[in-house]
């Protein structure tokens, strides 16, 4: 493969974009059951390889990543229960496809945090970009600042808690799960949602297609109080509840195969 050597010693492909076949850099400092990775001079691939080496091969369950420098795709695909802490801000696609980790991010995140996450939790101390929790399947996301547009797009489970406000089309095409928004929701809340529940504490600019208000029940209060207690988020504000109106997606029209079963 045509390679391109850089000053840092990293070999890239001919266009200077992809780093083929890297090895873990073995630079993490392991101290008993804890480890620290300094991400300053490492590329995304090297950071993730080092993280996987520590968590899977070394069996260390508490890892701190310092100086993440807003690099993309950090901490993706970790399928084991462990504790990850980011001292600083990762970039886009942080902790996507994870199953199990308990993640603390002491900074902000870019787009698509926890994309397709299966279980575990991610707590972000700052704001998050658009597409937060895209296709989320399980686990909890807690964002203490604002979130961008289309938070929880295609959400299929889990809970997204936003302490600030949420951008346009939050809960777009969501299919299951919960969203708790303490601040305001911008236009098109819950647009084209199939199922799931959205709670909003602040003002709502407008509801999306087939998103309708619903009545809060004791179960809803219990759920919100439980989540707020787990993540130590203080006293929850008063919420309005929204869910799918079940008109848009032809719920009353059965597929031919389903009709056969029913009849």
């Amino acid at each position: 493969m045509a390679g391109m050597n850089t000053k840092s010693g990293v070999v890239y492909d001919a266009r200077g974009l992809v780093e083929p076949d890297p090895e873990p850099p073995m630079t993490a400092v392991i101290d008993g059951a804890m480890a620290t990775i300094d991400a300053t001079d490492l590329t995304t691939r090297k950071i993730n390889l080092e993280l996987k080496r520590i968590v899977y091969d070394e069996g260390v369950n508490e890892v701190t990543i310092v100086n993440p420098g807003s690099k993309h795709s950090l901490g993706v695909g970790i399928l084991k229960r462990c504790k990850l802490t980011f001292e600083g801000s990762p970039g886009w696609y942080a902790c996507g496809l994870i199953d199990g980790p308990e993640v603390q991010i002491n900074g902000r995140v870019g787009w698509a945090l926890g994309e397709n996450m299966m279980s575990g939790s991610i707590v972000v101390e700052g704001p998050a970009g658009s597409l937060t929790g895209a296709a989320l399947r399980g686990g909890d996301l807690v964002i203490k600042g604002n979130v961008g547009a289309r938070t929880g797009i295609d959400q299929k489970g889990g809970t997204i808690i936003t302490m600030g406000s949420a951008g346009i089309n939050t809960g777009f095409m969501m299919q299951r799960g919960h969203q708790i928004i303490c601040g305001d929701a911008h236009d098109g809340l819950g647009d084209s949602m199939y199922d799931g529940v959205i709670y909003v504490g602040g003002k709502i600019a407008s509801l999306g297609v087939d998103c309708v208000p619903a009545e809060m029940t004791d179960d809803d209060h219990e759920f919100i109080n439980r989540k707020f207690a787990i993540y130590d988020l203080g006293t929850p504000p008063d919420f309005n509840k929204f869910e799918c109106g079940k008109v848009l997606h032809n719920y009353d029209a059965l597929e031919p195969s389903e009709r056969k079963l029913v009849l």
Partner: protein, 309 residues
Amino acid sequence: MCGIAGIIHRDGAASIGDELTAMLNSMKHRGPDSTGYAIYGPADEMVIVRFMLAEPNDFTGFGMDEKLERNRAEVESRLAKIGAEVATIQNETGYAFRATIRYGGDLKPLADYLEDIPGCKVLSLGSSLEIIKDLGDANTVHDQYGLAKVSGTHGIGHVRMATESDVDLASAHPYWAYPFADVAVVHNGQLTNYHMWRRRLERMGHRFQSQCDSEIIAVYLAQQLENGLSLETAMKHSLDDFDGVYTYLVATGNELGIAKDEMAAKPLVLMETENLVAMASEEVAIRALVGTEVETRDPFENEVLTWQV
């Protein structure tokens, strides 16, 4: 997918060539095909003309050097004919030039007259704006055009991933708002009512240098400024007038602004401090500029923000 970046220093000029290069280079993955800068130095009593006489891809046949020399002489003679006094004219690369001229007249006839020369494109005209763009990544263009020496109060930049037109200079950003002095735009996204607006602006007498949708944003905004609107108002109108997905940055001699479409489909991260405002498609570019953890935010849909120098 493209990457955009902008900086405005509110406490005087800084080495903006190096700063924008660091930001753009960190976003190389968003577009490695071409890189461009619109840099605003201190306002000059001279008019700065950036022009090119051929595409870098054109250097294939014999006699190219003679042809360029002939056309360069033609540029000088036409500038003299239209009443502009040429102070300096420098060769930045084999095909791109920077000239400073003394000229008090209307810029449109001047630009039209120069563009009439075969292969000649005026990249920018104005008393402080300089548009520098070429093929390759930010470091390549930075070294090729000696941007380490360039200082300014504000500037915008662009890394391009060619999707709908060629990899050449004509399709590279930033775009100058032909023929308005000192207005430049970089844009990430697509305008879906481009042809409608292009015809509309053409009927008003404007001409376009490229087939790129981003160019109409520059001309549209400059026309509105010419009509007496403030930059902020003009940009708010643009949100109603342009369909599609876009985040764009615009700069004039003393202002810099951002606008995001109503779907917030294209990214932007913003860092605001008292003396420095920086914005980019991705936060990694802000980090390339300041190095440490800083507070940043993503503007929401329909947001228009402007800053003065």
